[in-house]
């Protein structure tokens, strides 16, 4: 009887291990995560304007219908990524996610303290190489050193009413995530 009890306890412990293992593995096996869904917007390495979120046709889950969104899937394997964008004179924000959907950096227009976005994303190794010969063009840019290989950048711009949509969409369509450093 005592021995059976020990096996029951062992089973409970093993159940906890299985629980933790499943929860940690979900992001690696999820086939319908944000990254996978973004493939249908187009090629990696450039920004794509997401269709306006309307009922029955939301490009991604839980997007704010009052925002224009653009996304760019990037890889740091072939070198750093430079992100440049201009926005309308309203609220805008930037979020950088890794391949598994973890938010690694975010910023809004007020903390950026300028009307445009100029940001460089580098791995720690690329950063170390860059430090030996820092290009002048990076002096005004936000430089992000992130320990990730691939991920995506999402830009949001607020549109207070329908008349502002065209301007915001036009400006965000010009966003670039493939520029040289």
């Amino acid at each position: 009887m005592k021995r059976t009890l020990a096996f029951v306890l062992g089973g409970l412990l093993l159940g906890g291990v299985i629980h933790i293992a499943i929860v940690f593995m979900v992001p690696f096996y999820a086939s319908h995560d944000a990254w996978a869904q973004m493939r249908r917007f187009g090629n990696d390495g450039r920004f794509h304007v997401l269709p306006a979120p309307v009922a029955g046709a939301e490009p991604l889950a839980s997007l704010d219908p009052w925002m224009v969104h653009v996304v760019c899937r990037f890889s740091l394997a072939d070198g750093p990524v430079r992100v440049r964008a201009t926005f309308p004179d309203e609220f805008w924000s930037v979020a950088v996610f890794d391949r598994r959907g973890r938010n690694v950096y975010s910023l809004n227009d007020r903390s950026a303290e300028r009307s445009g976005l100029d940001m460089a994303i580098l791995t720690p190794l690329q950063m170390a190489q860059l430090r030996q010969d820092p290009p002048q063009s990076l002096e005004t840019a936000i430089v992000l050193e992130l320990p990730i290989v691939s991920g995506f950048v999402l830009l949001r711009a607020f549109v207070p009413d329908d008349s502002a949509t065209a301007l915001a969409t036009g400006l965000l369509a010009g966003a670039d995530c493939a520029a040289e450093l």
């Binding site: 089973g11 995560d33 939301e58 959907g101 809004n108």
Partner: protein, 191 residues
């Protein structure tokens, strides 16, 4: 033989405990790091590099892209102030104040988290367009039928969900979440 039975019991318990609890934790929304105020719940940690594994698993399953801490914070409400599920057959009044934020938007979703089909083609409200009382407060009426004032239309569904997104709010940068004041969702009329 006894040993085999004991091992079988242990394995059965491990499977029966591990898999359903993991499924519940990921599918039913995560229990950790939630901040609640009245009917409203938010997960401030989900949009940060320190996001917990449950949040990441849930986001991977839904394909949702959370608001980063530097962007804002999103609050969700499934119930009214009395704890009853929000129903499209009832009329609700949102009253009070929102926490400090440069901009906020209020949107109605169905129980599955999809945007509500709205005959009025109005996805919700944002803080710039809302009609306010002289004291700065506001009332939003959530109902299926046409209402005067700030009307947020919903479909005639059994369950719906309200999402209040606060953009550029001090809540994400260490401001106290303990004394959080959110709008009250009062049920006004329910046939």
């Amino acid at each position: 033989m006894r040993l085999l039975i004991d091992i079988a019991i242990a394995i059965a318990i491990a499977i029966l405990v591990g898999i359903p609890t993991a499924w519940l934790a990921v599918e039913r929304g995560n229990l950790f790091g939630a901040v609640t105020a009245g009917s409203w719940t938010a997960w401030p940690g989900a949009g940060s590099p320190e996001a917990d594994p449950y949040s990441l698993a849930m986001l991977a399953r839904t394909g949702e892209v959370p608001l980063g801490a530097g962007e804002g914070l999103s609050f969700t409400a499934d119930t009214d102030a009395d704890g009853m599920p929000l129903s499209g057959r009832c009329t609700y009044r949102l009253t009070g104040q929102t926490p400090a934020a440069r901009l906020w938007t209020l949107t109605a979703y169905d129980a599955g988290g999809r945007l509500m089909v709205s005959p009025a083609r109005r996805p919700g409200f944002h803080s710039r367009e809302i009609l306010r009382d002289p004291d700065g407060g506001f009332v939003v009426t959530v109902a299926a039928g046409v209402q005067p004032g700030n009307w947020l239309p919903v479909g005639l569904v059994d369950r719906f969900r309200l999402v209040l997104r606060l953009y550029d709010t001090p809540l994400t940068t260490g401001s106290s979440l303990a004394e959080l004041v959110m709008p009250r969702i009062g049920r006004a009329d329910c046939p």
